[in-house]
C-alpha cells in the first residue's frame, strides 16, 4: 500500500521566498535557499519549488546578508538542489523541452507545467515520452467563476472556461504523471482544504493527485486523507510558522495511524539552521 505523502511547497517571487494569499497578496519570508536546508533536516517526503515571479528578477538585493547574489533561475536551481536532500519538483517559467532538460541537468527530479500545459498540451506528451511520465507534473489551479462553477486559472492570472476535472482527465490522457491541484480561493486562507474539489478531481483520474491550498492546522491534512482520494497533501505557508513543523505534522498523522512515513529521528547536532 503506497504511503500518503506530505509535501512542503516553496514559492519564489522576484528573488525572495514568499507567502501567497489568494494568488494576489505576497509576503516576503526570506532568501531562496535557507528554507530548503531547514525542510531537508526534517526529512520531508518531497519538495515542490515553484517560481511565481512575474518579472525576470532573481536578485534578493541585499549585500549585508551572507548570501550569494543570484542572477538567474539557473543560479537558484543550483543553489536549491545543493541544499535539498529530498526529491525535488521544480515549476514555473517552463515553456519547452529544452527548459525541462536544462532543469533536470541541474538536479531537478520532476517539473510542473501550468501555462505551457494549457497553451501547448502536446508538450505534456512529448515530455513524458522523453523523460518518463513520473517527471511530468501538471499544476491545475482551480477557481470558482462568477456562476460558482470551478474553472482553471492559467499562469495564476487568466481564468479559462475549462472544468478542472475534465482538464485533469485530458492531461492524464496526454501522459502527465501527477496533478498538483490548488484551490485559488483557499490559497493562504488557513481555512482548510477544498475537499469537494479535491475529491471531484482525485476520484476521476488514476494518476496521483497532490492537494494544496488552505492548510491552517494539522487537522486539515487529516481531513484530506480521510475524505478524499488524494495521494499527497501539500502546503506552503503553514510549514513556515513553527519549529520542526513538517516533522510534527508527520508525527501527528503517524501517531493517529495514518498511512504516512514514520518521522525520522531529528538531528542531535547543535545548529543554527
Amino acid at each position: 500500500m503506497l504511503k500518503k505523502r506530505i509535501i512542503p511547497v516553496v514559492l519564489l517571487r522576484n528573488g525572495a521566498i514568499v507567502q501567497s494569499r489568494l494568488f494576489k497578496r505576497f509576503q516576503v519570508l526570506g532568501v531562496p535557499s535557507a528554507v530548503v536546508k531547514r525542510l531537508s533536516s526534517w526529512a520531508c517526503d518531497e519538495l515542490i519549488y515553484l517560481d511565481i515571479s512575474p518579472g525576470g528578477s532573481y536578485s534578493f538585493g541585499r549585500e549585508d546578508l551572507n548570501y550569494p547574489e543570484l542572477s538567474g533561475i539557473s543560479d537558484v536551481i543550483e543553489l536549491v538542489s545543493k541544499s535539498c536532500l529530498m526529491p525535488l519538483t521544480f515549476g514555473g517559467g517552463i515553456r519547452n523541452i529544452e527548459d525541462i532538460r536544462f532543469r533536470l541537468s541541474l538536479g531537478v527530479d520532476k517539473i510542473t507545467l501550468n501555462t505551457a500545459a494549457v497553451e501547448n498540451p502536446s508538450l505534456i506528451s512529448e515530455a513524458s515520452k522523453l523523460f518518463g511520465s513520473q517527471c511530468v507534473v501538471v499544476s491545475v489551479d482551480a477557481k470558482k467563476n462568477t456562476d460558482g462553477r470551478y474553472c482553471i486559472l492559467k499562469g495564476g492570472k487568466e481564468l479559462q472556461d475549462k472544468c478542472p476535472v475534465k482538464w485533469a482527465q485530458e492531461v492524464e490522457a496526454l501522459g502527465a504523471g501527477e496533478i498538483l491541484l490548488n484551490s485559488v480561493d483557499r490559497d493562504g486562507t488557513a481555512s482548510g482544504f477544498d475537499l469537494e474539489l479535491i475529491e471531484q478531481v482525485a476520484s476521476n483520474v488514476k494518476i496521483p493527485v497532490i492537494a494544496i491550498g488552505g492548510a491552517g492546522e494539522w487537522s486539515h491534512f487529516e481531513e484530506v486523507l480521510l475524505q478524499t482520494k488524494a495521494s499527497a497533501v501539500a502546503a506552503a505557508n503553514i510549514f513556515q510558522h513553527s519549529e520542526n513543523s513538517v516533522y510534527n505534522l508527520k508525527k501527528y498523522l503517524f501517531d493517529k495511524g495514518f498511512n504516512v512515513r514514520k518521522p525520522l529521528k531529528l538531528s542531535h547536532l547543535s545548529s543554527n539552521l
Binding site: R21, F26, G61, I238, H241, E243, S270, S271, L273
Partner: protein, 401 residues
C-alpha cells in the same frame, strides 16, 4: 532588470520606501506592513478572545509540564516590552525566569530599567554577558562583514534564552512583539512561533559561528558556544516552544510604555535621541537608534525615523504629512554621541568607519552625481548626502550621472 533609483516608490499610506527590508509594495502602492495593520483592524470580534483561549491552554500546558520548575523563560532587555511581557505572564500566574543577553551597550537609564525588574516585578533574573574583549571583536567583525556592529546582539538575544530553556527543561519561552509587523511578513491568522529559520535569516543575516572564527580576530568555537542553537532533537525532547505575546494580546507599544511607566516606574530616555523622536524605545542599546540604525540609512536610505513614523501613522498617532517631516528631520542624521563611544570602544578611526559605511550603499536607492551620493526622498525631492568614498572602479555598480 535593475531598478532605477531615481524612480523609487514609497508606500502611499506610511513612509516606507519599496526596498525596505522584507517589504512588498502591492499594485495599489500600499506596503505589506500597512496591509497587515489593516488586517489587524478588521479582525472579527472573536479573534482576540480565541487567541486568549489559546494562551490559556498554553499556560495550563506549561504549568502541568514544569511542576517544580520555572514555567517559562522570558527573554528581556529591560525595555518597555519586557516589562509588559513579564506583567502578562504574572497576570496569568506563570512562574517566569527572566533571561538577558547583555551586549554591553546599555544607556544608564536602560540599565536601571533592567535592574529594576527584580524589584518592581518580584522575579528571578539571569543575566549573561560575553567577555568584553570578545564583544569588541564581534563588533568589529559585524561591522566589516555586514555593516552591522550589533550583529552579536541580534544573534545572542535570540539564541541564548533558548539554551537556558532547553537546558533547564522549561517548556515555554515568551517573546515579545511579533517582529514581522515591521515588514508585514506574516498575517494575523498565521499562528507563528519562534523558529530557527527566521532567527538564522533575519536576526543573524545568514552568518553563523563559522564566519566568526578562524580569522584576524582570533575568536574560537569555545568563545562563541552561545551563538549556536540547541539541536532539533533537544527542542523536540523538551517540547520547548517559543511564542510571541503579540500573537495573543493586542499590541500597542505607545500604550504599553505609559502603562509600565505608571505601574512599575519604567524610565524613558533622559535626553532625546539624535535619530528618532521616540524616547521609550531602544534604551537597552545606545547603538540601535544610533550607528546601527545610521547604517540602515546608509544601506537602504531610511532609518529609525521612518520605522517609528510608519508605525505611528498606522496606529493614528501621526498624519502622513507629520510622518514625512519626521523622516526628513531624523533619518539622515549622523549620530555623534554613540559613534564617539564606539570608535573608542573598538579602536577604529572615523575615516575607517565612514569608508566601511560607504561600501554598503544599495544601488536601488543611491546614485552618483558629481561624486555625491544622491537619493530621492519620501516627499519626492532629491538631495545629496555627502561625498562618495568608494574607489572609482566600484562606480559601475551604481547609476552615475
Amino acid at each position: 532588470m535593475k531598478r532605477d533609483p531615481q524612480t523609487i516608490n514609497y508606500c502611499k499610506k506610511c513612509v516606507y520606501p519599496e526596498i525596505s527590508v522584507n517589504l512588498v509594495l502591492d499594485d495599489e502602492g500600499i506596503c505589506s506592513a500597512c496591509r497587515l495593520q489593516e488586517e489587524f483592524e478588521d479582525l472579527n470580534v472573536d479573534f482576540w478572545p480565541n487567541r486568549e483561549k489559546k494562551f490559556a491552554d498554553l499556560v495550563s500546558w506549561a504549568k502541568a509540564k514544569s511542576t517544580s520548575n520555572y514555567d517559562c523563560v522570558i527573554p528581556v532587555s529591560g525595555g518597555k516590552d519586557s516589562y509588559f511581557q513579564v506583567h502578562k505572564a504574572l497576570e496569568w500566574g506563570l512562574k517566569p525566569l527572566l533571561v538577558t543577553y547583555h551586549g554591553n551597550n546599555y544607556l544608564p537609564e536602560g540599565q536601571r530599567n533592567l535592574d529594576r525588574m527584580r524589584t518592581a516585578l518580584g522575579v528571578d533574573h539571569l543575566v549573561f554577558g560575553p567577555s568584553i574583549e570578545n564583544l569588541k571583536k564581534l563588533n568589529r567583525l559585524g561591522m566589516r562583514m555586514m555593516g552591522d556592529m550589533n550583529w552579536h546582539c541580534h544573534a545572542g538575544i535570540k539564541t541564548y534564552p533558548m539554551h537556558v530553556a532547553v537546558k533547564f527543561n522549561i517548556p515555554l519561552v515568551i517573546w515579545g512583539e511579533i517582529t514581522w509587523s515591521i515588514s508585514g511578513m506574516f498575517s494575523s491568522y498565521d499562528y507563528v512561533q519562534y523558529n530557527k529559520r527566521t532567527v538564522f535569516e533575519h536576526d543573524m543575516r545568514g552568518f553563523t559561528i563559522k564566519d566568526m572564527i578562524n580569522n584576524e580576530e582570533g575568536l574560537t568555537e569555545k568563545d562563541l558556544a552561545w551563538l549556536v542553537m540547541p539541536s532539533d532533537e533537544e527542542f523536540e525532547k523538551t517540547e520547548t516552544k517559543g511564542i510571541y505575546i503579540g500573537n495573543f494580546f493586542k499590541w500597542d507599544p505607545n500604550e504599553h510604555a505609559h502603562f509600565v511607566k505608571e505601574k512599575y516606574g519604567f524610565e524613558f530616555a533622559e535626553k532625546p535621541f539624535e535619530r528618532t523622536y521616540r524616547t521609550m524605545s531602544n534604551l537597552d542599546d545606545m547603538h540601535e537608534n544610533g550607528i546601527h540604525d545610521y547604517l540602515k540609512f546608509i544601506k537602504f536610505g531610511y532609518g529609525r525615523g521612518t520605522d517609528h513614523a510608519s508605525k505611528d501613522i498606522r496606529s493614528g498617532y501621526l498624519s502622513r504629512v507629520e510622518g514625512v517631516q519626521k523622516v526628513l528631520q531624523y533619518d539622515h542624521v549622523k549620530p555623534t554621541r554613540d559613534l564617539a563611544r564606539w570608535l573608542d570602544y573598538v579602536g577604529m578611526t572615523e575615516k575607517e568607519f565612514d569608508d566601511i559605511c560607504d561600501s554598503f550603499r544599495d544601488p536601488r536607492v543611491w546614485w552618483i552625481e558629481n561624486n555625491q551620493w544622491m537619493k530621492r526622498n519620501v516627499d519626492g525631492t532629491v538631495s545629496s548626502y555627502g561625498k562618495v568614498r568608494i574607489p572609482k572602479e566600484k562606480y559601475s555598480k551604481y547609476k552615475v550621472i
